[in-house]
């Protein structure tokens, strides 16, 4: 599986990780998404109408943890992180609006079209994530 993210995701990730309350974000993300089977990555709430290329919302880190929105291209083994938000804490929100869900979904289409993506990889010790501007 290859991992990518949108600029918005990277910005939100970096904003959250600076806060003490969200220190577990990076570890939770690694544990939830990396070295996982397709079956495990398909677990969550599907928001679009495609089982081959689902737009998924997933709870990570329990009820009060984080909500990840991602687009999974199953046959090409690619996962695109679109957005993340915490459920609780100073930057927490219960849910995002349907308009926001549609907006971030459209965002991945635009980003793929113009190649404005970041690749997301685990560091060699597996404890952190590295974002690199990606040009295919």
């Amino acid at each position: 599986m290859k991992y990518y993210c949108l600029e918005e995701f990277k910005a939100e990730f970096e904003r959250l990780i600076k806060k003490k309350s969200y220190r577990s974000l990076e570890r939770d993300m690694i544990e939830a998404f990396f070295d996982k089977s397709i079956g495990e990555l398909r677990a969550g709430t599907r928001l679009n109408n495609s089982s081959e290329a689902p737009f998924i919302k997933k709870r990570v880190g329990g009820s009060g943890g984080f909500r990840f929105y991602y687009y999974l291209l199953i046959d090409r083994e690619r996962l695109y992180f679109l957005f993340v938000h915490p459920k609780t804490g100073p930057l927490g929100s219960e849910n995002i609006t349907d308009e926001s869900k549609a907006y971030i979904y459209k965002g991945v289409l635009e980003a793929i079209k113009v190649n404005e993506l970041y690749s997301v990889e685990k560091s060699s010790d597996g404890k952190s994530l590295q974002f690199r501007s990606f040009q295919s």
Partner: protein, 154 residues
């Protein structure tokens, strides 16, 4: 020869100690039983909350699984809509049930169990919102289905 007042004093003391000893044993036993009954009631309460939490979490999983269904016809969508309404009713009842635990929660009784129960109710709210978004709101938003179509062409 022991004087009478001494014997009387000893007898009085004996009577007092006897009475105190008897009462303590009797009441001590009783209070221990009461403590045990209270502890049993707390354990029963914890189990009841855990059972309810498990049931709510099972429903949450089922609601999540429904979002993976495709090509639903009108009668199926009507049923999904009914599930959404009933789940909201269920949440209202669960919130009422949870409100009854506020005092216990303040006293630190079954705190972890109550917290997990409330989290399950929160998740239920979120799952119902997402289910409704998936089948009723997102498909109606301009561009949403078109985004899916265009992504399938890339």
């Amino acid at each position: 020869m022991v004087i009478e007042s001494t014997i009387e004093q000893i007898d009085q003391t004996l009577a007092q100690v006897l009475e105190a000893s008897f009462r303590e044993k009797k009441e001590g036993f009783g209070s221990e039983r009461r403590v045990n009954q209270t502890l049993d009631a707390i354990l029963d309460l914890k189990s009841a909350i855990e059972r309810k939490t498990d049931k709510v979490n099972a429903i949450n999983c089922q609601l999540e699984a429904l979002t993976w269904l495709d090509s639903l016809d009108e009668p199926s969508l009507t049923k999904i809509n009914e599930i959404i309404s009933l789940s909201r009713d269920l949440r209202t009842s669960l919130l009422r049930f949870a409100a009854g635990f506020d005092l216990l929660n303040e006293k630190g009784v079954a705190k972890a169990e109550i917290a997990m129960f409330k989290e399950a109710i929160d998740d239920l709210k979120e799952d119902v919102q997402d289910l409704e978004s998936r089948f009723f709101f997102l498909p109606q938003l301009p561009d949403f289905e078109e985004t899916t179509r265009q992504l399938s062409l890339i």
